[in-house]
Point group: none
Chain length 209, copies 4
């Protein structure tokens, strides 16, 4: 899926020649996901990542030239995963009505961010290389647009992309509401999330009409 594009990339992991190395890379990346999710990009240390992967600092640098490269590989991996989910949804969404699209989108993206907690941290935080982050964001918007397009044949390209951008932001908000224990009580958090879903439904209903 991505073995050819990754190898040619400047900052990606060096191509491991053997399965052992490949496995090590995977372990390192999931350790990195843990640590980045817990502490954020800046506060995470390469030593801690290596330790969490039961590996040594030397090993980590065998596969990743810099700390940034680790974050980058992680972003690429996770955004590929996200891309696959959105692609699947694009195929399935043909028969849905707008309400269902709204509901499914909300569900899918909240799920994704919940199961990839480092994703938000890395993508909304300084430290990760701008260019890649922007690419990922644009890619996601394009996929959202692809999902929305069939339900709004009348919308121009520009307007469609604007809608996609708004939907993307709503997704981010969902995660924020989920994480923030600031709501006076857990039920308040749930209520806010329901409210957000409602906003998306109403809005898409109006925008795609």
């Amino acid at each position: 899926m991505n073995e050819s594009s990754q190898t040619s990339s400047k900052a990606g992991p060096r191509a491991p020649r053997r399965d052992r190395g490949h496995a090590r890379v995977e372990v390192l990346l999931s350790a990195a996901a843990q640590v980045f999710a817990d502490k954020g990009y800046e506060a995470a240390t390469t030593t801690e990542i290596a330790a969490a992967a039961q590996s040594s600092i030397g090993s980590l640098y065998q596969f990743f030239p810099t700390k940034q490269a680790v974050a980058l590989a992680l972003i690429r991996q996770q955004s590929a995963d996200l891309g696959a989910r959105l692609a699947a949804m694009a195929e399935a969404s043909a028969g849905w009505d707008v309400d269902e699209v709204a509901r499914r989108l909300a569900g899918a993206l909240v799920d994704f961010r919940a199961s990839h907690p480092s994703f938000a941290r890395l993508i909304d935080t300084p430290g990760a290389p701008e260019a890649v982050v922007l690419d990922v964001r644009r890619g996601m918007r394009l996929q959202l647009a692809a999902i929305l397009a069939p339900h709004a044949p009348a919308l121009g390209r520009a307007r469609l992309m604007a809608v996609a951008a708004v939907v993307q932001q709503v997704m981010k908000s969902a995660v924020a509401l989920n994480d923030d224990p600031a709501a006076d009580n857990p039920s308040a958090a749930r209520a806010a999330l329901a409210e957000l879903r409602e906003m998306l439904r109403v809005y898409l209903g109006a925008a795609l009409a």
Copy 2:
């Protein structure tokens, strides 16, 4: 609420007792705002803040016991400012219809975040002390609720707070769209913002009805 009790606070600035001290604190805080806005909390250095304020590092630590205290003081100062703006809006909003409320809210908050670029960085970033950040967020939600309440007399308290939480997230999204040069071109950014405003209008229209 807390503008008078700063001295007794654990991590607040040491109260200056001379005019020169007050002036220095102001200069330091605006330098800090610059630097935090540019680099984020972690990457900002106290040395750089002091230099930007044309003072020595010793002077900074004369008034702020830690780097975190600087961020804190900044958050408090700026959230007091935001609070004042929302309070003013609450008074003026009596005669507005829902559409106008949506428009004004969007305008005010986007303006605020645009003129206080460090605010978002500090409040959405680890490093700032959780308790204060949560307080600020809750305070803002309460003020939003106060603005919305008169236009939705039928809404229960819980529902109202959920709506306020959603509006708060929309505001954050507006800033993100504003900052993110990811949109393919400047006009796309403007379109997305307009779209966001539209979402708010439609949503508030439905929710407050």
Copy 3:
């Protein structure tokens, strides 16, 4: 008593012209005694000393040119006090037998160190200027010798000074035993002190015979 010698000293407090200044110096010195006793010379800060004296650093430096000068003045003051006590004892000791001399010496010196806790810290610690410390120690030995001499007319000068040096060390030990909560229980500390007194008694009995 000491107003003329102190003024001429290079590092002593500047002669205060007024009573107000004089009082301030006293307060500063007793604050310094507190702080030095608590933290030792190095860890004590001039700011803390000034604060403990309800004064400002500026004021402290009005009277003492350096931190070392504060310690010095304190040592001088306290050793003058000690000197007075020993002088008094020298006069009174004519009629005592050796046992009584031992008992009184032990009592007097333990008392003194207990009521001047900073003395030991400053005199046994680096930081205080060597020359003064050595002077103080020598002075104390001379006074001890003066007390002991009448009870050991046969002893040569050199031997007498050696005995005085040993007695001085025993005094220091008494303080150490007093302070050290290492003894398994308080009664053990008392037992050790009694033992020390016994050692002094036996030893002086033998040495002065």
Copy 4:
């Protein structure tokens, strides 16, 4: 007792896993001994210790998490050494009379402190963690008691510990007399030391009788 569990200790050195690491730790510790002996705990700097060990500051912190940990490791190392000497003496002392015990004890402990000049500085100074220091002192008293016990079968446990505590203080005094160039001349220092030895002899003769 504690020679095997260093790794699990909270503030101990990180265990080196390579020969090079072990060697480096040794070098660092002896450099630290030098510097601590010269300047005392507070005035010694980690930078200077690293330089004296011809390593980088980073290497020091690779093995010791804090400056205090360096002092701690040194105390532990040296007190283990001292413990071994005392243990050896305990075995050999069976056939000695009290005079010989006094002489040998004095000799051994003065020797030890003379060859480990940092020991006294660290153990009598604030900065070293209290708990460890107290442990070391208690251990030493126990060993002294073990040496003295056979020569005073009639002494109760409590009395024996008190005697041991006194002997310990005498040892400290010996070092102080040794170090202190305050005596009017070198021969005076020697005389005082001889006098101290005499005190110990007389005292132990009386106490153990």
